[in-house]
């Protein structure tokens, strides 16, 4: 580990740091609101736990920023191995709730290894792609190893089943390969193959997943079944109007019409209370964070740092896009959290570490 340079403090990226904390703040507010007036008077234990996660996440973000990101290259494969091992542990001895097996019970809290897998997949892909692509870009033969490294965690995650995380792993890998220099013709061929593979994907989907897809296309087909989530979410968002119903005044969330209001549908709970102004502010925070991530990637001193920044920015983007798309009824319901906002320790901490790494990349572009 390189010795600590005092100049680092001067170059600490306060933009990413403060945007991340602002998003965490929105998350805490939304969790307070969604749990208000429930069984517990005042603050729900969920809020207290989320605050603890924000605290721990902030510490880990700072910690990650202080580590020179270049050393991560040498830990990429071992870290990937640990993540896959944890996914295997989940598959064998995981703690299951609501029909899916996603957590490892650590006593104090339940660890969700699929969140660690996101970090690991970004790291291992960036590690592989940091080499300059050959003339014409990465071809099919170069993609075999990334494909294999992707397939193992995706298979394990889909087994849980966790379609959302599987999707994010695929999307982020694709993003990295594209930015890393994918051959245009290969890209077109893969795109075509993906379209042709859709019927096969349908065939392998679980019935509840198919149901969600059908009810997405036509929510009224089963308004009290799976279409219910989409309809109630749209009602919550739309009823917020321009200015929102006000903090703690959202009826859709408070009276439990909104499902999963602290996790997957927290955006709808937030939109109901803070309105169009609020959702634009929230999207603005994400846009600023993503813009900053892209700026860091473009100004990074090396490909490794640039691709790390692209990777974590990409995770943020894809999760926001899918989560908001789902809450607003543009995409089918898949369990994906709103990064840094949704309740949940593993997801929050993984994102904070990712932001820390991004800060580290930005801090160190002056140091060579």
């Amino acid at each position: 580990m390189p010795t600590f340079d005092r100049r680092l403090l001067y170059h600490f990226d306060w933009t990413v740091f403060s945007l991340a904390l602002a998003l965490c703040g929105v998350g805490v507010l939304s969790v307070v609101s969604a749990t208000w007036g429930g069984r517990h008077h005042g603050l729900d234990p969920l809020v207290v736990r989320q605050l603890v996660w924000v605290g721990a996440g902030t510490a880990l973000m700072i910690g990650a920023a202080l580590i020179d990101y270049r050393v991560l290259a040498s830990y990429a494969y071992p870290f990937y191995g640990v993540a896959v091992a944890l996914l295997i542990v989940v598959a064998v001895a995981g703690h299951s709730t609501g029909g899916s097996r996603r957590w490892i019970n650590l006593g104090v809290f339940n660890l969700e290894p699929s969140e660690i897998a996101k970090l690991a997949v970004v790291l291992v892909m960036v590690r592989y792609l940091r080499e300059d692509p050959p003339k014409g870009g990465w071809g099919l033969k170069h993609l075999a190893i990334p494909a294999l490294m992707l397939a193992v965690p995706v298979a394990l995650v889909l087994k849980q089943p966790d379609l959302g995380t599987g999707l994010i792993l695929i999307l982020i890998t694709t993003t990295l390969i594209f930015v890393g220099g994918l051959n245009w013709r290969v890209m077109a061929a893969l795109g075509l193959a993906a379209v042709l593979a859709a019927p096969a994907a349908w065939h392998y989907m679980k019935p509840y997943q198919r149901e969600r897809l059908v009810s997405f296309i036509n929510p009224q087909s089963d308004p009290l079944g799976s279409g219910y989530h989409i309809i109630q979410s749209e009602i919550a968002i739309g009823s917020g109007g321009k200015w929102g119903k006000g903090f703690l005044k959202g009826t859709q969330a408070r009276l439990n019409f909104l499902p999963e209001q602290t996790t997957d549908f927290i955006f709808a709970a937030y939109a109901e209370e803070f309105g169009y102004i609020g959702t634009m502010a929230l999207l603005g925070l994400y846009a600023a964070l993503i813009a900053r991530g892209i700026w860091i990637a473009r100004h990074s001193r090396d490909r490794f740092g640039a691709l790390l920044a692209v990777g974590f920015t990409g995770i943020i983007f894809w999760q926001v896009a899918i989560n908001v798309g789902m809450a607003t009824g543009m995409l089918p319901v898949v369990g994906i959290t709103l990064p840094l906002v949704s309740y949940g320790g593993s997801s929050l901490i993984a994102m904070m570490i990712g932001m820390g790494v991004m800060i580290s990349v930005n801090m160190r572009r002056y140091l060579f």
Partner: protein, 632 residues
């Protein structure tokens, strides 16, 4: 580590910078789409989505208003509401629903409760909303339910108001009845909900908006599983207004009792206002059975009864007026100067017109006869001659002016107009020329002539009051629940006939003779202390076969003639005018006459005329102490 470069050193090698820029562009396009979608949901569709959010959380409980009461002219209640008990079940509150249903069915002695719950669920019953499974519980059922409350989790006893007609079938056709609003009516009446009560007939129907009031409601906030959390808003119901009728309970009772089991109708009006004092139609029905929820079989039985108990004969029954129509002839002829009071005709018992004989009811004839005696003895031949002189159209014009053959304007549905024939009407309806011979039938109120008892009563009132045709009214006043007057109904004049007073005196004298002269056809209707003026009539049911006289008693009941009697009294200052028909009773003087007499007697007992000898004090009822004057 290879030297890093943002721009690839080799041509054709993808460069990191442009790819990152491409990714950034794609990202901001997607975020833009998300922002657009949020604009669509939160700004454009805000209104309907907000409404859907409220519909999610707000459940509206309707509080039906208490229906207004109905009183007679002396504020005695005729219609009120009484509590009706019903069993309601909240399926979500019953841990073992099938067992609860089985127990409840056994206690109440009914079945099919599960089906009612299923039906309610099919119609989208929200959770925790009760289903009414049994209505109109009788006392033993209520007691059974109350005493086994603990064994019936989720079952509640509810009380709802039920329309109650205090005197059963009394004035049933006038009061009408209520029933559940029909699906057809629901479409055109936005204020009504499934299961609401609505007036279906009579006063209940025509004064529905007055009686109904306005339902109130509670807005209750519920959560996603239907638990009631708090009351958001409450709009109190506004009870319906009460109606003070113009009819007198005692007089109505007397009229109905006097008709008894016979089929017939009687209308008594105040000639100076047009207010109806009694309106009887027999046979009648008990409106309470509709309020209790009439069974389809009971309904069929009522609707197909050959005696038509559901028909209000006073306004829906049209009958030939018979000799009562001679009053019209008399006024028409005198006003038209076709005859004078001294004009005399010879009645040999019938006259020949064309190739057929038109008979007088008196086979031996009346000899030389002038108007007064012709009215008193109801000579047909005299009026054949009068009719011939007048022609049908002048008779029709006066009949119309006197309110016959057209709707009276009473605030009741299903009123029929009847028919007064004329050359124009026959031409229009049958495309046929009028034959002068037909005028003879019209002159004695037969043939096509058809009137309702109400029309004849209004005609009688017009003659009694000196020529003013009023619109009959049965409501005097609408009162709020606290007794304050909301609306009054002053008399409505439909027409001033400007009949020469001398002409009226002549006709009235004839009518006095009908009741009081020894040869009068309605001697049976005479009162001891008050001068009654009247006219009898016989409405032919079948035309007499040519030249054959059949004895009434030999005919089967349904072919026998209807008997009419119209009258007013006291003859000099009339206070009451009556028309009465008794179906298939033969001669009016002996059937309808005594009915009218009883009603007159009752009336003058209740409202003694100032210038008459008072009746025996012992018979005066207590109420008569605070009787309002009739012609207010």
């Amino acid at each position: 580590m290879k030297k890093f470069a943002l721009r690839g050193r080799t041509r054709g090698t993808p460069r990191l910078g442009p790819r990152i820029a491409a990714l950034g562009t794609m990202i901001f396009i997607v975020l833009g789409i998300a922002a657009g979608r949020l604009y669509y949901l939160q700004i454009i569709r805000h209104r309907d989505l907000a409404e859907m959010a409220d519909r999610n959380r707000i459940r509206i409980l309707r509080l039906p208003a208490l229906r207004g009461l109905v009183f007679d002219r002396r504020h005695r209640p005729l219609v009120d509401t009484k509590p009706s008990f019903e069993a309601a079940i909240v399926p979500e509150d019953s841990p073992n629903l099938p067992a609860t249903i089985a127990r409840l069915q056994k206690l109440l002695g009914v079945d099919g409760l599960q089906k009612k719950i299923d039906d309610a669920d099919d119609q989208g019953r929200p959770d925790f909303e009760p289903v009414i499974v049994a209505e109109h519980l009788d006392w033993p059922q209520v007691v059974a339910l109350e005493s086994h409350q603990l064994e019936l989790p989720g079952v509640n006893l509810q009380v709802s108001p039920q329309r109650h007609y205090l005197y059963g079938s009394l004035a049933a056709h006038l009061l009408g009845y209520v029933g559940e609003v029909s699906l057809k009516d629901l479409d055109r009446l936005p204020d009504y909900r499934m299961g609401d009560e609505i007036g279906k007939f009579g006063l209940e129907r025509s004064l529905e908006s007055t009686l109904r009031g306005a339902a109130g409601g509670q807005e209750i906030e519920v959560d996603a599983i239907g638990r009631r959390l708090r009351l958001l808003r409450e709009i109190p119901e506004r009870p319906g207004d009460s109606i003070v009728m113009t009819i007198d309970l005692d007089l109505q009772r007397t009229a109905e009792a006097a008709i008894g089991d016979r089929a017939g109708a009687l209308v008594a009006v105040d000639p100076n206002t047009g207010y109806i004092l009694a309106m009887a139609s027999r046979p009648a029905f008990d409106p309470n059975i509709f309020a209790e929820g009439i069974s389809p079989s009971a309904w069929r039985e009522l609707a197909t009864d050959p005696n038509h108990p559901l028909e209000n004969r006073a306004i829906q029954g049209t009958y030939p007026p018979g000799s009562t129509f001679k009053i019209v002839d008399s006024i028409a002829a005198l006003m038209d100067h076709s005859i004078s009071p001294d004009t005399s005709f010879f009645c040999p018992g019938g006259i020949w017109f064309g190739n057929r004989e038109y008979r007088c009811w008196r086979k031996q004839g009346h000899g030389h006869i002038e108007l007064h005696r012709a009215i008193v003895e109801s000579c047909d031949v005299f009026f054949y001659e009068v009719g011939e002189r007048l022609g049908v159209d002048r008779i029709a014009a006066w009949a119309h002016a006197l309110g016959l053959g057209r709707k009276s304007g009473i605030e009741l549905n299903n009123e029929r107009a009847g028919v007064i024939p004329s050359t124009e009407l026959k031409e229009r309806r049958f495309h046929q020329r009028w034959y002068p011979a037909e005028t003879l039938s019209v002159a004695i109120g037969q043939g096509y002539v058809a009137v309702t008892p109400l029309q004849l009563a209004m005609m009688t009132a017009t003659i009694a009051n000196g020529g003013t045709l009023y619109q009959p009214q049965f409501v005097r006043e609408v009162d709020a629940l606290d007794g304050s007057v909301v609306k009054q109904f002053p008399p409505i004049v439909r027409g001033e006939l400007h009949i020469d007073p001398q002409v009226l005196d002549e006709v009235r004298d004839g009518m006095i003779g009908v009741v009081n002269a020894p040869d009068g056809t309605a001697h049976a209707a005479r009162l001891d202390n008050i001068v009654v003026a009247g006219k009898t009539g016989t409405a032919q049911v079948v035309k007499e076969a040519q030249g054959v006289r059949v004895k009434e008693n030999a005919l089967p009941m349904k072919y026998r003639d209807h008997g009419w009697f119209i009258a007013f009294a006291p003859a000099d200052h009339p206070k009451i005018a009556i028309a009465c028909i008794i179906e298939h009773s033969g001669h009016g003087g002996s059937s309808a006459g005594p009915v009218v007499k009883q009603v007159m007697e009752k009336y003058f007992e209740l409202y003694p005329p100032q210038n008459a000898r008072p009746p025996a004090p012992s018979t005066a009822p207590a109420e008569s102490a605070h009787v309002e004057p009739l012609d207010e």
